[in-house]
């Protein structure tokens, strides 16, 4: 028998961070929700306009709240499941503080508009490297603990965490591949369709391997612990695990249905999403059927209540997801608030409640005391559940209303709501309900923070040393699988084999979908001559577009659907994006699509619109951007940026790069002259001019084909 102590103090640190970042992240969420209901809530401050704050919200809840919770649960449970102290306390401490510093740096850069504009991967390259290094430290510590283990057999939670670590490393590294132009500016090495595919392969699987697999690992630990019943079916757990990690990685293209992505790739995304339903439900069944055996406890145990609702929402979201991936249904829900509702049923219901349950479970045990108030926990459950429903129902309703209005034709065969604002005004009341629902959910979490704080405060400090445990040392003969046992036991005793198998399986989907797009592809001849890279001024404008986070509300992808042709114009072709590093297709239309906005309005319209959107679009909920009218654009890195893009294959000639500033000046002067006629003086060197140049260029190349044809 060997005696050893679990490292509990690192788990306590991660728990404290989870609670604090949870409150911060959700508070930012409530603020952005409020900004959609009442645009003035941004106070006219550039740093907290919707386009900059929404990435902060998503990053904070995913990478600050959920990741810290995962680290806490993994460090807590894996030590106990493997009967070993963490491999290295030092690495764990570096992991903890490194991650918190990363979060602070991420928050500062995101509100400053330093972003690569790829959703849930917005951080610029120095921070991307920091994420990678910290993830490797986490991996070393986790696999080191497995190596040091005294339990021969790996429990199912450990499998899920192995898959998480491998998959996230792969996703993060591939999607973050970019060429720096300066210390805080880089361009994705992928362009247009490739970039879109890589990004949504990443984003979909970040949901899969940060918001699903590690949480499933938590389900398999905390559900049977709290229910005090065995997991319902071992076999269902096995098939669910392997099927889920393999199939998940193929479903990314369901974010790109009806786009310029090759149709066979879109179809794969849809079909693998459908095939994901059963593997997802395997764990839901295992969770619910385990809880069902402790049904009588459900009445009195708030932790079990959180777990039951969490697993139920997991089942709902994983049904809704495949349905939304069916092409015809996706053409209705995509770009609308329905997607936001779907995400939040998963995030607030499934992930949020699982994390909350794990915190209520771990804190009394780690602080060696009883929960301060069960009544408060019970209250939290009800406030949280009501908040969740009050968030979900209005926002999916808003999504459906939007979609129906966007697609409605009147008796004359014309768009029934050609004025975009009608489709916005119709859902503002639902935006208000969402603010209330979100606030209730946040209030519940604050209540939990208080409850856990009081619990920790009541702890007897002399008892806070690391928990003592004992187990016999691992002997090699324990790893031999008994004759007649399930074949799978062989894998479960062999972490290296299990890791390699998981790594192999998670790599296939992305490889099949991404590699064909990287091969040279011949554009249709008519596009070859007209599609040109952005001019220097337009490039400066695009970087402003990225900085202000315009992609958070505006798509640049007209789908081949009749209503979109009438509303926006010609549908988008892949050839139009071959120089688009990074792509700006967006995922949501809080405002209208912009891919065909080039040439639609005069420069003066854009000038007045940026100054105050309501001057030209009464009722608009878009923030005002008066600073664009005053601030001068920065040309310091212009040549470096163009050279970076040239390296990536954008056909800028050396001459163009050398004369970039002169070319830029000529185009800026031209726009400034036009603006001057409408009474706007001295705009030549202002950011607005660059932005107008970019907007007027959007989707305009293809119009030259039409002109040439005529």
């Amino acid at each position: 028998m060997e005696q050893f102590r679990y490292n509990d103090s690192i788990v306590r640190k991660f728990i404290i961070a989870t609670v604090i970042w949870g409150i911060v992240g959700m508070l930012v969420g409530v603020v952005v929700a409020l900004q959609l209901a009442y645009w003035k809530a941004n106070g006219g401050i550039p740093w907290i306009t919707f386009g900059r704050l929404r990435p902060l919200h998503t990053n904070a809840v995913i990478f600050a709240f959920v990741c810290n919770a995962i680290f806490a649960a993994v460090y807590y449970a894996s030590q106990r499941l493997l009967k070993a102290r963490i491999f290295s306390d030092t690495l764990a401490t570096i992991h903890f503080w490194g991650w918190q510093i990363l979060i602070v740096l991420a928050a500062i850069t995101l509100v400053s508009g330093i972003t690569v504009s790829k959703e849930y991967a917005e951080l610029e390259w120095p921070l991307d490297i920091m994420v990678a290094v910290l993830w490797v430290i986490f991996a070393i510590n986790f696999f080191g603990t497995i190596w040091k283990r005294r339990e021969p057999h790996l429990y199912i939670s450990i499998w899920y965490w192995i898959a998480t670590i491998v998959a996230i490393a792969l996703l993060h590294i591939v999607n973050s591949m970019a060429l720096p132009a300066s210390f805080l500016k880089s361009y994705s090495i992928f362009a247009g369709v490739q970039d879109a595919m890589v990004q949504w392969w990443y984003a979909h699987n970040a949901v899969g391997f940060l918001l699903t697999t590690p949480i499933l690992g938590m389900l398999y630990y905390f559900v049977p612990k709290q229910a005090q019943r065995p997991i319902y079916s071992y076999r269902l757990g096995i098939i669910g695990f392997w099927a889920l990690i393999f199939v998940y990685m193929w479903a990314g293209p369901h974010h790109l249905l009806y786009t310029a992505l090759p149709e066979w790739t879109q179809t794969l995304g849809m079909l693998f999403s459908l095939m994901l339903l059963a593997p997802s439900w395997a764990s839901m069944l295992n969770g619910l059927l385990t809880i069902r055996e402790a049904w009588e406890k459900l009445k009195t145990d708030p932790i079990l209540k959180f777990l039951a609702v969490s697993v139920t929402f997991y089942g709902m979201s994983t049904f809704e997801g495949p349905m939304m991936s069916i092409k015809s249904l996706n053409s209705i829900t995509h770009y609308t608030d329905y997607t936001v509702g779907h995400v939040h049923s998963g995030a607030l219901g499934w992930v949020g409640f699982m994390v909350i349950a794990s915190l209520y479970y771990m804190v009394p045990r780690l602080w060696r005391t009883n929960l301060y108030s069960k009544t408060l926990a019970e209250t939290h459950f009800w406030i949280g559940t009501v908040g969740l429903i009050l968030y979900y129902i209005p926002i999916i309703t808003a999504g459906i209303i939007q979609s129906l209005m966007w697609k409605a034709f009147d008796a004359e065969g014309l768009l029934k709501y050609p004025n975009w604002m009608e489709t916005v005004e119709a859902i503002i009341p639902l935006y208000w309900l969402r603010v209330i629902g979100g606030s209730a959910y946040l209030a519940g979490v604050v209540l939990m923070g208080y409850n856990l704080y009081k619990t920790a405060k009541s702890a007897d400090k002399s008892l806070l040393s690391d928990e003592l445990a004992q187990a016999p040392a691992l002997e090699p003969n324990q790893l031999v699988v008994k004759r007649g046992a399930y074949f799978h036991k062989f894998i479960e005793n062999a972490p290296v084999l299990l890791t390699l198998l998981a790594a192999g399986l998670v790599s296939v989907g992305g490889a099949v979908q991404i590699i064909p797009l990287l091969l040279p592809r011949k554009p249709q001849p008519i596009f070859e001559t007209v599609i040109k890279p952005l001019t220097p001024l337009e490039l400066v404008g695009k970087d402003i577009y990225i900085r202000e986070g315009c992609y958070n509300c505006h798509s640049q992808m007209v789908r081949p659907l009749r209503d979109e042709l009438v509303r926006y114009g010609e549908y988008s072709r892949w050839e139009e994006f071959v120089y688009d590093h990074p792509f700006q297709w967006g995922s949501r239309r809080i405002g209208p699509d912009l891919h065909r906005v080039g040439g639609k309005y005069p420069d003066n319209w854009h000038y007045l619109h940026m100054k105050d959107p309501r001057a030209v679009t009464p009722g608009s909920i878009m923030p005002s951007y008066p600073w664009l009218l005053q601030d001068r654009y920065n040309l310091k890195d212009l040549e470096a940026k163009m050279r970076t893009l040239q390296t990536l294959g954008v056909p800028y000639s050396d001459e163009e790069i050398q004369n970039a500033k002169e070319l830029l000046r000529i185009q800026a002067q031209d726009i400034a002259n036009r603006l001057a006629k409408d009474g706007h003086k001295d705009t030549e060197d202002k950011e607005i001019t660059a932005l107008i140049a970019y907007l007027q260029r959007l989707g305009a190349d293809i119009k030259n084909i039409r002109t040439a044809e005529k």
Binding site: K225, T267, L289, G413, A485, R562, V566, V616
Partner: protein, 203 residues
Amino acid sequence: MNPKIDQPREQEQEKLDLPVFDGDLQEADNPIPRWWLALFLFTIGFSIFYFVWFHMMAIGPSLQDELKIAVAKAKLEQEERDRLMMAKLEATATPAEIGAKYFKNFCVSCHGQEGEGGIGPNLHDNYWIHEPTAASLTNVVFNGVSAKGMPAWGPILGERKVKGLVAYVMTLKDVPLKIPGKAPEGKEYSKEQLSEFMSNTTK
């Protein structure tokens, strides 16, 4: 759902040769629910069929084909409707009334709430950039003037609403403007000329 649920678990754990993890974690050996397996196999079978049908054999229409069909169908319906609509047009609300409604929705952002002008010209004064006849103004609204930033409204609003808009704009010359209007643009016409040009509006 499963009869095994209340049976003792010890033998199962024994058969699975699984340890008890972390003091009390165990796994039972209940069978996989049949309907679950059926669902999984169905989605796999459906997916294979779908991919072969739409991509390998290309029997099902592509998204572009579906768009072409939808557009062609809409065009036919449109032509039929236009025939019926034109016949009824005169009998319904006056074109100017229709136009007033659409003006508020689409034109005010450039021509001002009262038509006093802004990004686009003032519509109350006697100055006109294009000849102020119904035919000429309909052409301007329908096809747009891209050099000046006037969008083409025809494809969005259709002929009937465009004609209504023109009829409404023509009534503005008789409405005194209460707020300051934009400086004149284009050629000046006398009251009489305007009345003459605009007299046969709804034809």
